[in-house]
Amino acid sequence: MSTSWQEIFDLGARRAEAGREPESEERRRGVFRRLRESLSKSRQALVEEVSASLFDRLDEETWERLEEALILADAGAPTTAEVVERLEREVEGGAVSADGEAVRDRLIEILADVASTGRGPIDLSGEPAVLLMVGVNGTGKTTTIGKIAWHLSREFGLSVVMAAADTYRAAAAEQLAEWAERAGADLVRSAPGGDPGAVAFDAVAAARARGADVVIVDTAGRLHTQGDLMDELAKVRRVIAKQMPEAPHETLISIDATTGQNGLRQAKVFAEAVEVDGVVLTKLDGTAKGGIVLAIAAELGIPVKLIGTGEALEDLRPFDPDDFARALLAE
C-alpha cells in the first residue's frame, strides 16, 4: 500500500487537528489512480503495467532490454549493472524461478529495496519545526514549498511560516509570496539582496512568537560547483541553529526527475555542505523516471521522501518505493 501522509511526516508530540481522519484505503487507492494519471498526462498506459513482452522469454535479450529500461530511466550504468547482476545470480541460483512473472516481481522488489535505503519520515517534531529547502537552480524548490505548506495545513491543520531566503533571484520573494497566499501560510521576507541567513533567522523568531507549527526556508538555487555559494548555504544553516539549536530539523534537496548522472554529484556536494536528510523528486509528471535517486539512496543513504507531480498545490505525494520501482519499469 502506498505511503501515507501520516507515515511521511513525523509530527512529534503534536496531535493532528481533530476531525481530520487518516487517509482511508479507498482514498489512497483513488489517489494512486490519480498519480498514475498525472504521471502520464496524455498516455494511456498505466504505471502498474510492466510491458509484458519484457519478460516473456528469459534470454540474453531479456537482460539487455532490462538494462536498457534502467539506463533509460537514468539509473546509471553502475546501479543498473549491480541490480541486473544480482537478479541474474538469483535466477541462476534458483532463488527466483526463471519465468517472466517471478523475475518481474523480484526485480521490482530489488529496486524498491534500493530505493528504501535510509528511509525515514520528515522530522516535524520541533516546535516550531524548521525545514530547509536546498537544490540546484530550476529544480522546483519554491513550488514544492507551496505544496508542502498546503498539505500540512490541509492534512494536519498545521500553521506554516515561509522564509523567502532566496534574496538573489529576480522576483523570488514575489514568487514565494504567491505560494504563501495560495497555501494560506505566512511569509517573512527582506529587500532583494538582503542576507539570506537573516531572513531565516527572522522567520524562525516570528514562528516562535506567533506559535506557528512549521517554518519552511526557501533558498536560492545554486550549482554545487560554486564553492562560495555552498559556503553561504552552510552559513544559513548555522544562523538558523543560532535561533534554535536543533534546527533546521529537516533539510530536503530538490532533484529534478529529468536530471541524469549529475544528480548524484549534486546530492553529494550539498550533503557535504549542509547535511541533507531527504530528497524531493520533482517533475515526475513528465516522461523522466528519476532513476538517479537509486544511486543517491544506495551510495549516500539519502532517501526520497516526497515526489512532485505537477505545478498545482495538490501535486505532491509521499514517496513510496514500491510505486516508484514499478514506475521505473513501465513504458
Partner: protein, 454 residues
C-alpha cells in the same frame, strides 16, 4: 570522479602494443569503454548505440589498425566524431530583412528560459541592436516580474500584459508594439511546459503560428539525462525549433544531452549559458563540448581554480624550484595541503588528463588515507631531511617510520617516488609531456599536484 576515457582506453588497449595489431576483440573492448563513458555523461542510450556502431566501423579501418598507439588513436577518432556530430554546418541566428527579428524561447520548466532571454537580449544588444522582450508566461507565479527585472538589467524593454490574457494574444500584441517602436529584435519568453502536455504544446504551436518567429530556440538544461531525446523530439515536432541553448553549463554535468539532442533532431546548439550573471553567455563550441562529454579533463577550470588558491608569487616560486630541482619535501607538503584545500582530491585529480592512468595501471586507489600517511611521514622528518631526502638512510628511516606510525618501507617508497616525481615535474615544467610509463612507475604513491602558469 571524472574517469578519464583516454586512460581507460589506454589501459584496455595496453597489451595491444606488444601484440602490434588491433583485432576486432580489441575494438569491441574499446567500444565498451566508450559506451560506458558516454552513458556516464548522460548521452542517450540509443544515441550511444548508434554512435559506437559508426565508430567501430571507423576503428576497424586501417588508420587504427596500423597506428602505434591504438588507445590514443581511438580517443582521437572519438573526439573527432563527437565534435563533427555536435558541430558541423550549423546555422546562426536568422535575422529579419525588415521589421523586428522575432525569437521564440521554449523548453521544460526550470530549464533557464527566462534567464536565457535576458542574456540573449544583452548579447544581441552588445552589437548595437535594440532588443525588447515579451512576457508570455502567465502561469508561473511572478514570472512576469522576473522577466521585467532581468530585462531591465539587460537594458531591454519588456512588453507585458499581466497574467490574465491568453499568451498567444500577448505575443501578438507585443509584436505589434515592437513593430511600432521599431525594435530590431523581439525575444518572446514562454512558460515552461512538458512535451507531453498536449494542451500547452498546442498553445506553443499557436504562438508560433501567430507571430511567425525567425528563430525558435529550445533551452535545455545541461544536467538533463536520458529524457533529453524525448523532449527534443516532441519540441521538434510541435515547435520546430531551429537551435538549442544549453543552460547551466557552469556546473559539472558532462552535458551528454547536447549530443543526444543534436544527434536525434539534427538541430545545432547555438549558445551556451554558463552562469547566472547576464554576461555568462557565449556561442557554443562543439569541440569543447566533445572534450567535456568524454571527460577529457577540464584543465582550464583546474588552472582557474588553482589560481584562486595559489597566489602569483607562490606559483612563480614553485616553478623556479621545480626547474632548478630545488623542490623539497617541505615544498611538496605545502603543495599537497593546498591541493587538499581546493576540494575533494579525487575530483581534482580527475580533472587532469592523464592522471587517471596512475590509478588504473596499479589498481591502487588514490585516497585521502594515503595522503594522511604521506603527510605524517614528512612531518616526522627534520627540516634538513625534508630539504635533502638523499641523507635519509638507516636509522633516520627507522626514526621517521616510528614517529609517523608507519613502516620503513613506506618511508622508502615515499623518498623514491618523490625523487622520480621531481624529475618528472622538471620535465613537465620545461614543457615536455610526461611519459605514461613513468607515471605508471609512480602509481600507488601520493598524487602529484600540478600547477601550470599560462
Amino acid at each position: 570522479m571524472f574517469d578519464q576515457l583516454s586512460d581507460r582506453l589506454q589501459a584496455t588497449l595496453s597489451e595491444v602494443r606488444s601484440r602490434g595489431k588491433l583485432n576486432e576483440g580489441d575494438v569491441d573492448a574499446a567500444m565498451r569503454e566508450i559506451r560506458l563513458a558516454l552513458l556516464e555523461a548522460d548521452v542517450n542510450f540509443k544515441v550511444v548505440k548508434g554512435f559506437t556502431k559508426t565508430l567501430k566501423e571507423r576503428c576497424l579501418g586501417s588508420e587504427v589498425l596500423e597506428s602505434l598507439d591504438p588507445g590514443q588513436q581511438v580517443v582521437k577518432i572519438v573526439d573527432e566524431e563527437l565534435t563533427a556530430l555536435m558541430g558541423g554546418a550549423g546555422r546562426d541566428l536568422a535575422f529579419a530583412s525588415s521589421g523586428p527579428t522575432v525569437i521564440l524561447m521554449a523548453g521544460l520548466q526550470g530549464s533557464g528560459k527566462t534567464t536565457a532571454c535576458a542574456k540573449l537580449a544583452r548579447h544581441l544588444g552588445e552589437s548595437g541592436k535594440d532588443v525588447a522582450l515579451a512576457a508570455c508566461d502567465v502561469y508561473r507565479p511572478a514570472a512576469v516580474d522576473q522577466l521585467v527585472t532581468v530585462g531591465e538589467r539587460a537594458g531591454s524593454h519588456v512588453y507585458e500584459q499581466g497574467t490574465d490574457r491568453d499568451p498567444v494574444e500577448i505575443a501578438a500584441w507585443a509584436l505589434d508594439q515592437a513593430r511600432a517602436d521599431e525594435r530590431d529584435v523581439l525575444i518572446v519568453d514562454t512558460a515552461g511546459r512538458l512535451h507531453i502536455d498536449a494542451e500547452l504544446m498546442e498553445e506553443l504551436a499557436r504562438i508560433r503560428k501567430r507571430i511567425r518567429p525567425h528563430d525558435v530556440l529550445l533551452v535545455v538544461d545541461a544536467m538533463t539525462g536520458q529524457d533529453a531525446v524525448g523532449v527534443a523530439e516532441s519540441f521538434a515536432e510541435t515547435a520546430e525549433f531551429d537551435g538549442v541553448v544549453m543552460s547551466k553549463l557552469d556546473g559539472d554535468a558532462r552535458g551528454g544531452a547536447a549530443l543526444s539532442v543534436k544527434a536525434v533532431t539534427g538541430k545545432p546548439i547555438l549558445f551556451a549559458s554558463t552562469g547566472e550573471k547576464l554576461d555568462a553567455f557565449e556561442r557554443f563550441h562543439p569541440d569543447r563540448m566533445a572534450s567535456r562529454i568524454l571527460g577529457m579533463g577540464d584543465v582550464l577550470s583546474l588552472i582557474e581554480k588553482a589560481e584562486k588558491e595559489v597566489d602569483e608569487d607562490q606559483a612563480a616560486d614553485l616553478q623556479r624550484k621545480l626547474e632548478s630541482d630545488r623542490f623539497t619535501l617541505e615544498d611538496f607538503l605545502q603543495q599537497m595541503r593546498q591541493v587538499r584545500k581546493m576540494g575533494p582530491l579525487s575530483g581534482l585529480i580527475g580533472m587532469l588528463p592523464g592522471m587517471g592512468a596512475m590509478k588504473q595501471l596499479k589498481g591502487a586507489d588514490v585516497d585521502e588515507g594515503e595522503l594522511d600517511r604521506v603527510e605524517a611521514i614528512i612531518l616526522s622528518m627534520t627540516p634538513l631531511e625534508r630539504a635533502n631526502p638523499a641523507i635519509i638512510k638507516g636509522s633516520r628511516r627507522k626514526r621517521i617510520a616510528a614517529g609517523s606510525g608507519t613502516k620503513v618501507q613506506h618511508v622508502n617508497q615515499l623518498v623514491k617516488q618523490f625523487d622520480q616525481m621531481r624529475k618528472l615535474m622538471r620535465q613537465m615544467v620545461s614543457g615536455k609531456a610526461p611519459d605514461p610509463q613513468q607515471l605508471a612507475q609512480m602509481a600507488g604513491g601520493a598524487p602529484r599536484p600540478k600547477y601550470r602558469r599560462r
